[in-house]
Every structure is written in structure tokens, then in C-alpha cells.
Symmetry: C2
DNA sequence: TCAGTACATGTACGAATGTACTAATTTGTC
DNA sequence: GACAAATTAGTACATTCGTACATGTACTGA
């Protein structure tokens, strides 16, 4: 008997999707073949058939997450291009981002995992570098790095605290950061 | 035979110390009784004798790390009290902090672990809240939170990038953040 | 001196893990 | 329809894990 119809690409996607769901719950290090297989509702053999190892699976899932991040950055770029006030628009975008807790948890897991898995560092840099590049279209490079770091700090802050920074405060701080010294 | 002389407190400290050494290398989730015991150079039985479970061991180690953090904050407070220029002094302190990579990795691991282990959140908040409290002695509370978030962002940034933000840039950004809007 | 307690250490064991592998089934190609 | 390749699914196995435990050793106080 063969329960599922054949659809290799779909299956691969489902497994990756299951891993992305699990990472916020158990962490990257908490992934196991069996856990992912159960969540994806595929037999254990499927996860080893589509991925050469568990590390490969985790890495692929995180790569997919980085791709989603890149998409997010493109929409940020679009919003900033059309938005009237740069700091206020950024603050709104950040506030929206804060609403997607699981995405933030994956992002943070990636950062932590990159700490002791050097092969993940380029992946972790994608968000940060992309954001810096984006901001560098509006302010000088050093300032762009500082603003990107500030935004990462706000996200991290929100992960730990019940109440994130108020968008008004964020907008004010961003304006201060991006305004050339008097 | 009994190789080690009796010294329960010393032994407990050694196990915690070993765990703190290992966390940057393998992550909180990568800790095992055997790994910690080997690093601490104690038999396997010792880690289960002194800690009721592996979670207990990890939690205790992270608590010890938080205590070190609290100590660090006290020395920051002292430096800020005597330092002439607030932003410049802060920038120097941050730059010093960046030199201790393993401490930063533990801090980041704690943040990530707190994401999917709620019981760790109070521990994770200690650094952030303490820093905010400290800064609140110099600027209003909202600004203090923003500056604390910025500092966390800088640390995170440094974990992922080869070159951290230049202290000069950091000092300038801090000054901008802490200066009331014109 | 002599219990009684705290500490030390090695071993045991069930559970869970990563991965390999066999066998069955579907799909594409001639 | 026949055949090879790809996919599916279940199982097996060595390894590692957390934890319990039995046994032994050092300390403490009366």
C-alpha cells in the first residue's frame, strides 16, 4: 500500500516546512528525524531519503528561512521607497515584524546556532547584511550598520520582554540615529 | 580508591565551570552529562549526584552566568559614574565586552534557549533589565530601553560579523540616541 | 571507637537517536 | 506490456543518552 501519491518536491517542501515549525518549539539542536517526520506526517524513511543527514536537513531548513528573510527585505525596500518618513516607516515595519513571533524565534535560533556552527554564519549574515545594504541607500555605511544593529537589538529585546518598545520611541530613536550630528 | 579529595563545593563549581565552557562550543541543547563530566574531569556519577537532572545542571550553569553578568553590570555602573563622557565611556565598555567572545556566546545561547524554555526568560532578562536600570540613571526610561536594545544589537552584530562596529561610530550613535531631540 | 551521614565512582538499563537497508510500489520510457 | 529508475515505507541496529543504583570511602559527632 502507498498512502501518499507521488510528489517528491511537495514532500521535500513539507519536511522543510515541518522543520521550520519545530525550530521555534525545540530549537535547532532539538530537531530529530522522528520529530520532523511526525510533524510532516511522513514516514521516518522519508526524512533520510530526502536529506543526507540531520545536519543537512537543519541547514536546508535554515536556508529556506533565510530565503523568506530575503523576501521580507524586498518588501521593506519597497515600503521604504514609497513611505513618506523614513524613521516612521521603519518603525512600522519593525512593529509588524514583531507580530510574527515564530519568524523571530527562527532568526534568533539561527544566530545562536551560528555561534557554534561556523558554516551557518553566512546564512545568519544575510538578514543583517541585507538590512545594512538597504539602509545604506539612505544614510552613510557606518550609520547604516549602526541602525541595522539597533533594529536587531529591538527584535532581541522583544523576544525576552513582554512589552516591546513603543513604535513611537523606536521612530524617535531611529530619527536620532540617522540624523547627522549638529 | 578515591582519586579526588573531598570538597563538594569545589566539585560543584568545577562541574558548573565545565558546563559554562561547553555551552559556547555545543550550545545549551548540546550539553550531556557525559560531556560535562569529561570536561570537568569527574566521573559520570558526579554530575547526577550534584544535579537532579540535566536541565537542572544547565539552568544552574546559566544562573551562574547571569551572576557574572550582574557583576559586570556593577563594574559598568562604577565606570559610568566616574567616566567623563557618558557615550564615550559606554562605547569603551562595549568594546571591552566584545573581547570576551565566549561570554557573548553564552549570553546569546541564553537568549535563544529562553525562546523555547520560558523558565529561562527571567534569567535572560537580567542583563537587559539591569542595563536599562543602569542607563535610567542618566536618561529617561524609554530612552534607556532603546539604548539597552542598541547595545544588545551591537553585541549580536559582533557575534556574526568579523569586524564589529568601530567604537567611534558606537559612541556617536549612543550620543545621538541619548541627546534629547532638538 | 563507632555508628551514621555525606560523598565518590562505576555500572546497568530502558529509551531515543541517526542512519542503513530491504522490500514494495509507482512512474516514465521503449 | 516490460523494464529500469525513482520513490515509499517499514524495520533493524549500533550508539548514545539520562538516570538509577549498588558499593565503597571519607568525614562527623557522640
Amino acid at each position: 500500500m502507498n498512502g501518499a501519491r507521488r510528489n517528491p518536491e511537495e514532500r521535500r517542501r513539507r519536511i522543510i516546512q515541518a522543520a521550520l515549525e519545530l525550530i521555534p518549539e525545540v530549537g535547532v539542536g532539538g530537531l530529530t528525524h522522528r520529530l520532523v517526520a511526525a510533524r510532516a506526517d511522513v514516514p521516518l524513511g522519508a526524512t533520510t531519503y530526502y536529506f543526507t543527514s540531520l545536519d543537512d536537513l537543519a541547514h536546508t531548513a535554515l536556508t529556506a528561512a533565510a530565503e523568506l528573510t530575503a523576501e521580507g527585505l524586498r518588501s521593506w525596500a519597497e515600503a521604504l521607497r514609497t513611505g513618506p518618513d523614513l524613521p516612521a516607516t521603519l518603525a512600522t515595519l519593525i512593529d509588524d515584524y514583531l507580530g510574527d513571533r515564530s519568524r523571530m524565534l527562527i532568526w534568533n535560533e539561527l544566530y545562536a546556532a551560528a555561534g557554534h556552527r561556523p558554516e551557518l554564519r553566512p546564512l545568519a549574515r544575510e538578514w543583517s547584511d541585507g538590512l545594512t545594504r538597504l539602509l545604506a541607500g539612505y544614510v552613510d555605511h557606518q550609520t547604516a550598520r549602526a541602525v541595522a544593529a539597533f533594529i536587531d537589538g529591538i527584535l532581541l529585546h522583544a523576544l525576552i520582554h513582554d512589552r516591546p518598545l513603543a513604535p513611537g520611541t523606536v521612530a524617535g530613536s531611529l530619527a536620532a540615529l540617522m540624523t547627522p550630528p549638529r
